[in-house]
Every structure is written in C-alpha cells, then in structure tokens.
Symmetry: C2
C-alpha cells in the first residue's frame, strides 16, 4: 500500500523531529505555561507557590491492548488517569509531560490521534491544562509515561492521612463501570488469548457506555478542589478498586473505613457490589469529610471509625482487599 | 542459586509494593518537597511562582547496555541528563519523578543501586533535589522515564531564542569526553555485536576518565543559574553534539554561531575537533552572553553573527550538523 505509506508513514521511517512537529501541531496552546514545548524545558506558572506532581505509565499488555484502544482512546486515558491524581490532592491540573516509547511500525496517524486524545481530555476535564513537554523513543512495546502537574491555588494538599473517627466517607464518580467495560473486552473481543477489535454493534447501549468508560474514563476532576475547599480531611482517587484503595486510605490515616452495603449497591454499576468493591479504573474520588461538610457531587457511602481489626468493613464485616488487575492476571508475569 | 534468589529476588517474584519500599528506603528526604512519595501526588514548593519542567527517557538498546552500565550508573545518568535540562533554563533543580519499566528477571539489588545513583547524583550535582514520585511497571526492556522540575528563583528562563548579533558564544563543561568513552565501549567491550562487561584494568587512566564521563556524566549544573544571573541571552545543554545543538540555538535565535577552531581544539577532549563537534552526551552548557559578561566557568568558543547561509560556522566555514548517535546507528531500526 504505497499510497498509505506515503500519506501515513510508519514512525520508524520518519525523523523524530517530524513526529514531534506532527504532535505539537495537535497540541493546545499552553495556558498555564509561560513557555511550552521546544526548548530544554517548559516554564509553568505556579502562582500559589506550591505545585503537585504525579507520574503514571500505561504499558501495552499490562494496561491496554492496541486491538481494543484507538490512539485517541490511549491519549485520553493516559491524560485522565494522571489528571485524576492531581485532582485527588485538591489541586487544579496545569500541565502534562508525555514520554512516548513507540514501536517503529506504528503509523503516524495513530500518534496524531493520541495527541488529539490528550488535547481533548484536557479540554473537557481540565480546561487550561495542556501538554508542555515530553520525549519520544522507539521500543518494542508502546509505553506512555506521563507526569502531571497541578497548582493548589492556596489550598492545603489533601492527603490520604487525615481521616478522623466520625468523618463521613463519600465518593464522587462511577463505581464498577470501567471494570464492567473491561469485562466485556475480555469476554467478547478475544480470539483465544489474542485481543480482537471491538464491534460496538454487538453491544447494547448500557454495555457501550461501560466500554467507553473503560477506554476513555471521565474522572470527576473538578470535584477535587471543591472537596478540598469543603474541608475534606483525606482524599484519593480510586484506581485499583474501592476495597484496596479504601484500605490504603485507612492505613495512612490509622482508621477504619466502615462502608454501607446498601449505599454501595445503590452506586454500583449494574448493582454489582463485588465489582464495585474490586473493580478498578473508574478514577472516582474517595474522600472523608467532617459530618455535614459533604459537597454536592459526592455520595455518602460510609463512616470513619477508630481503627478496628480490619481497615475496611462493609456492614461491619471485613472485606478482601484484592485489587482489580485482569490484564496482568491474564498473561503477564507478575 | 537459591541463596542469592532469597537475598536478592528478581523483580518479577516480589510485589510492586516491596520494590517501591526498597527504593524509597534509599531515596533522600525531600528538601523542596512539602510532601514526598506515597500519596496520589507529591507537593513541591515553588516559592518564585514559576517552575521549569522537562522529561527525558533512557531506553535499553538505543541509550544504554546493561552489560556496560551498573544500576548505579543508570540511576546517576538518568538523573544527570534530566537535571541538565533544568540548569540549561537557568533554574535550580528541585524534584525528579521516575517512571521505571523493568524486566521481570532483573534483581532487586540492581534497582536498589539505581535508587542510590539517583540519590548520589542529586546530592553531588543538585543538592536539595530528590526523587519525589514515580511509578513501576514490568516490560521486556529496561526504560527509565524521568521528569525533572526546577525553580527559577525569580530569574527569567533562558531559552534558545535570545542570542543576538555581537554576543559571545561560550561553553561550560566537557567537549567530546563522553563520546570518547562511548567509543571505547564500542571498540573494546563487544563480542561480535553483543556488549560485554567492561574490564577497567585494560584502560589507562585517561580512558577510564572518559568511560566514567560516558557512564556517569557530570554536567556543570550550578553554572546554569550563574549564567542566567550574568545575563546569558540564550542557553541550552549540549546533548546531541555541539554542531547540531549549536545549529538548534542558531535557528531558534535567527542568528549564526561562528565558532573558533582554535578554541575548539583547546577544549576538545584529546584534541579531537571532529569528536568535539559531533560527539554528544557531555551535557555541557552552551550559552551566549553580551560581550564582557561571560562568567567564570565558561570558556569563550566563538561569536554570534547576523544570520548567514549556515547556522554554524567554524573559522568561517559551514560544518555538518550530524549528531552523535552510535547506539542507534549500531543496531537500531531508526
């Protein structure tokens, strides 16, 4: 296909400079950045005098399949999961740095679509945040290593360690929806062990919605700073499953998180409590507040108690803390 | 070797949490960080109200060989090359975020040594800077994706774009030494195409010094802010070779960099002008200053002129801009 090769070259056949120019042409102008991509480093305004920074990497295999995710999906998801960590501190995302390791046979259009996904995710979930730097290398497997930066705007960072006996436990965002979408991928779009492209026409609208959340999560980023302003005593994003992440917050704070089974059943996607507790990747915000301080957008799901034997209880009974990691369970060494 | 396996497990045989705890135990306490590793994000002081941020990735194969580099070397070099981009803006490095993708069969001691290398490089070249976050994934090839952050301390960032006709061109740091060390590796420590461990006893002291600079570069980081304070009009770090990097600065500034052959010969490691122009990875600082403003630590190597036909001249003649990339030339697709 000579014509496709001309119009849409493989990454290995063009210069790094050409790839970077194509990416930059699709990157939104920097709002918080005083100086964007192209120099030795970007310069980013930090008017409040302190910033938050977090890094998270998506790797082909353990974290995604190219057969299931478009370039746009991967750009979106890589942005969203990193922006979520910034919001979970109570900060507003300002900038992303993206280090791509790309197989030489990937088409330029795939990388361009990834740049579109980064841009649109920022535009929709964290307006003003944009990609301000990064780098590009060649590797056998696609890897997307992102660092996200944010500004606290004068707020104190909300850590995992401040929950107190008597606080309300609340959640913003979905519970089990991304895991339901991942379950569909594993159940319906494989040929033996191999991932095959998704045929959306075989899914009903609810299933399509779950699939979309798995491929392009929509974490409630704007509620992070709102929770901080409302007095959240502890907060984190739920990436590895509510049971496991709640146990981390409980351990960091030295308390027990006592969840209500009825509240979980109400919020759980499809009413599936097990998936609500074990399913990850929703990137909702789990937070604790003084009684009466829970802001709109958060749903009450339990209370903080003095430390009991177990870090997390549901209706008074301990729950397993196993997180959700079917990619890794499926074919990965770890 | 059951005993070694017990004492020094492979990364694939222990939990991510155990690896991270081992790394954190070797990470220096954060000086600039209000909140270090362990939460959703780190919090870093930015007292001057703006920060600089840069990302660079080292990949096994294109960038290093495990046969040639110890874990300590790799941690050191990954820190140094990223810190250098911060210094090249005139900023003081404050924090690193490190995303590691690690083959499952690598020993924990290798990763611990890498953490030591990160810590000691920061301690020696950028005191107060430390690793404040990152993540860990498993992959076939070792990849080290680093984001470096720095504080401008009220200075304006020194970009590549400010050089003016009549400025002095000056360099701090080495010229061709890292390339000489890499040349030794390729010439002396291979079995066919495969890298084999270095036997330092076969090298004379000068060769050992060059090898050390290739494996553990010592960029003149402290001179970055000093150059900014002295009035540097443009600055960048020399990572891909003086000729190529000077052409980038010339293009960004719309000027020509006219270098003195005699000055290059004096600074060039081993007096090798070709390697001085083409050899990369020294991470010296290339800067332009108003006449009379060159600070101690920088050597004058040329002048800035109005834009001529070529971006870079040596004794009035154009030079090729090819950068130094023998790893890639040797066995890589690009």
């Amino acid at each position: 296909m000579a014509s496709r090769s001309d119009d849409d070259p493989r990454i290995g056949d063009i210069s790094e400079g050409a790839v970077l120019r194509a990416i930059l042409a699709r990157t939104a102008p920097a709002v918080h950045a005083v100086l964007g991509p192209g120099d030795d480093a970007a310069v980013i305004a930090a008017p409040s005098g302190s910033i938050v920074a977090s890094a998270d990497t998506l790797v082909e295999g353990p974290d995604f399949r190219i057969a299931w995710s478009s370039g746009y999906d991967l750009g979106w998801k890589s942005a969203a999961v990193n922006l979520s960590d910034i919001a979970a501190m109570g900060a507003v995302p300002t900038a992303l740095l993206v280090s791509l390791a790309v197989p030489a046979d990937i088409r330029l259009s795939f990388i361009e679509a990834m740049a579109d996904g980064f841009r649109e995710c920022c535009a929709q979930l964290a307006p003003g945040c944009s990609v301000v730097g990064g780098d590009l290398t060649v590797s056998e497997r696609l890897m997307i290593a992102v660092t996200a930066l944010g500004d606290l705007g004068g707020r104190s960072a909300v850590t995992r360690a401040g929950a107190r006996d008597g606080d309300v436990v609340a959640l913003a965002g979905e519970l089990g929806m991304a895991a339901a979408g991942l379950g569909l991928l594993f159940a319906r779009f494989r040929d033996g062990a191999a991932a095959v492209p998704v045929d959306r026409s075989t899914l009903d609208p609810v299933q399509q919605g779950a699939l979309d959340r798995q491929l392009r999560p929509v974490p409630p980023l704007a509620l992070g700073p709102i929770a901080a302003d409302a007095g959240a005593t502890a907060m984190m994003d739920v990436s590895d499953g509510l049971a496991l992440d709640a146990s981390r917050l409980a351990d960091a704070s030295g308390v027990t998180i006592a969840l209500s089974g009825a509240a979980l059943d109400e919020l759980a996607f499809g009413g599936d409590r097990g998936r609500a507790l074990g399913g990850g990747e929703d990137h909702g915000l789990l937070a604790t507040f003084p009684a009466g301080a829970v802001p709109a957008g958060f749903e009450r799901i339990g209370t903080v108690t003095a430390r009991a034997d177990a870090p997390v209880l549901v209706d008074g009974r301990p729950v397993a803390e196993a997180g959700w990691d079917p990619y890794r369970d499926w074919d990965h060494a770890r």
